[in-house]
């Protein structure tokens, strides 16, 4: 059963130094507020897992939270590169960053395996590419019926997965809709799952395309209106595209980034 608690308490209780932590949300419903709270609580040596590390992971990497990044596409969508991620990779600033790199299909299937209680997943992937040369979590497996060789990826089971959703009921059941991404799998693959929501309501009336996460698979639910901004929450607010463009300038330079970081740390979640 999920406890409904303030976000600082949820992060304090469930996110520890050295943990493997996944913040998911595919362009949509990215849990920015939770990422910022992890920065404020100065977690260190995290293995950060995310299919599409974008601004939120650039910020966490720049803040020194991460020792390793597990991902399949790292960029500022529609804008360009992640300068803090590049700086960490090339100069080890503020801390060295190890990477484990996959394709989207591989990462999605790693979460599927994790959510399914399986040690690996099978896919038609990676064939002929250079990715397996650099990624130990890609292997091959042979079909026991046809003899065909296929790609295998190891399961992802984060210590903590954090996602954002539109709403929860008072028991802590969560409902999200719009592009659902890989959030259900990431939550079900994790030891503990934290969900930030726009609001708590009495009844989760059905919504077309909605995914429901029962309270008994969640550790904590925190009410954080706007918790996905500058990404968007379908039906609540739009993507702040200007903020994505502005991040390019802020993040390009260690100084302007550090000023941004100090300001963030001064804010309360």
């Amino acid at each position: 059963m999920a406890k409904i608690v303030p976000l600082p308490q949820a992060v304090s209780e469930f996110v520890h130094d050295g943990d493997t932590v996944a913040l998911e949300g595919f362009t949509h419903l990215i849990p920015f507020a939770a990422g910022h709270e992890i920065i404020r609580q100065e977690r260190r040596d995290l293995t950060l897992v995310r299919m599409t590390p974008d601004l939120v992971y650039d910020q966490m990497i720049g803040a020194g939270c991460a020792a390793k990044l597990v991902f399949s596409w790292g960029g500022n969508p529609g804008v360009g590169s992640l300068h803090r991620m590049r700086d960490a990779l090339s100069s080890g600033w503020p801390a060295p960053l190890e990477i484990e790199e996959h394709s989207h299909a591989g990462m999605a299937n790693r979460y599927v395996a994790g959510a399914s209680g399986l040690p690996f997943a099978v896919l038609r992937g990676y064939v002929g590419t250079d990715l397996p040369l650099h990624t130990a979590s890609v292997a091959t497996v042979r079909c026991p019926f046809t003899g065909e060789e296929l790609a295998a990826v190891s399961a992802l089971n984060p210590d903590v997965t954090i996602v954002h959703a539109q709403r929860a009921d008072r028991a802590g059941n969560v409902q999200l809709w719009g592009i659902p991404g890989v959030q259900k799998e990431a939550v079900l693959a994790a030891t503990h799952a934290i969900v930030t929501v726009e609001e708590v309501v009495d009844v989760l009336t059905p919504v077309p395309g909605a995914v429901v996460l029962p309270t008994w698979v969640l550790a904590a639910v925190s009410v954080v209106p706007g918790g996905a901004a500058p990404s968007y929450a379908h039906g609540y607010y739009d993507r702040d595209n200007a903020a994505y463009r502005e991040w390019d300038a802020i993040s390009r330079d260690r100084g302007t980034f550090t000023a941004w970081l100090e300001k963030l740390k001064g804010e309360k979640s």
Binding site: T27, G74, M85, H104, A105, I179, P180, G209
Partner: protein, 249 residues
């Protein structure tokens, strides 16, 4: 009317798509061309994005692969695992529409690193959905700007397999899709030679010379015996392209 090389590229790419095809679309140039095709000759083109939107009909161009506008106008929205496993992987998508930072003479694509993997000169975003799009679609169309930096003898990193090192590689590796059938640039069109799988110049856009293409291509590019000239953009193509707006821009 006059037009830019970029406009010619988008229009030529749009023309490559046929009505009724199912097209797995990468963001950026492919998305622009696919949405243009849907507004022109291919109203029944089925657009599929890796964010899980199937049959989406956005009235503006998405800025990112998971924009709300893609979900709002989609016939179906599915999870990311489902879009890759049930829709892309079995080979039911006609065309994969990709771009990249580098493409080589065999149509292999690099979106990972320029330089060595461990100490790259430039770290690029990585693979996203492209490796499996390139592997599983019935055919792949690549659209990218033609520059010497981008069109290289051999990509620094094979993010998405084209024809590997030659005509038999895909079959040997067990891939079922045909791989890249066309590379559409702002200068012209390259297609794999049926015998060697090497990209050869098969069309020039109006006003472009073979020498210009050679100057921007990192291998001694062959020219097809029946080199075509791309038809100039029509007024309708240009006005439709120019009327397309991108979300939030």
């Amino acid at each position: 009317m006059s037009w830019t090389a970029d406009e010619m590229m988008s229009i030529a790419a749009a023309r490559a798509l046929r009505d009724g095809q199912a097209c797995f679309v990468g963001i950026g140039l492919p998305s622009k061309a696919a949405n243009l095709a849907r507004r022109l000759h291919a109203p029944g083109l089925v657009l599929i994005y890796e964010s899980g939107t199937i049959g989406t009909e956005p009235d503006e161009l998405p800025l990112s692969i998971g924009d709300g506008i893609l979900a709002d106008s989609a016939l179906a929205v599915v999870s990311v695992p489902e879009i890759f496993n049930y829709w892309l992987q079995p080979g039911r998508i006609d065309v994969g529409f990709l771009s990249g930072a580098q493409v080589d003479r065999f149509g292999n694509i690099n979106t990972t690193v320029i330089g060595p993997y461990d100490e790259p000169d430039v770290r690029l975003p990585g693979s996203g959905g492209a490796p499996e799009i390139a592997a599983s679609c019935r055919e792949v169309i690549i659209v990218m700007r033609h520059t010497l930096r981008a069109f290289v003898e051999r990509v620094d990193f094979v993010t998405s397999l084209g024809h590997g090192d030659g005509p038999d590689d895909r079959r040997t590796l067990g891939l079922r899709g045909a791989g890249p059938t066309r590379v559409i640039t702002d200068l012209g069109v390259l297609e794999p030679d049926p015998d060697t799988a090497e990209l050869v110049l098969t069309a020039l856009h109006q006003g472009v010379t073979v020498e210009q293409v050679r100057a921007e291509t990192g291998w001694p590019v062959e020219v097809s015996a029946d080199l075509m000239i791309t038809a100039a953009p029509s007024e309708q193509e240009l006005s439709t392209l120019r009327a397309m707006r991108t979300v939030g821009v």
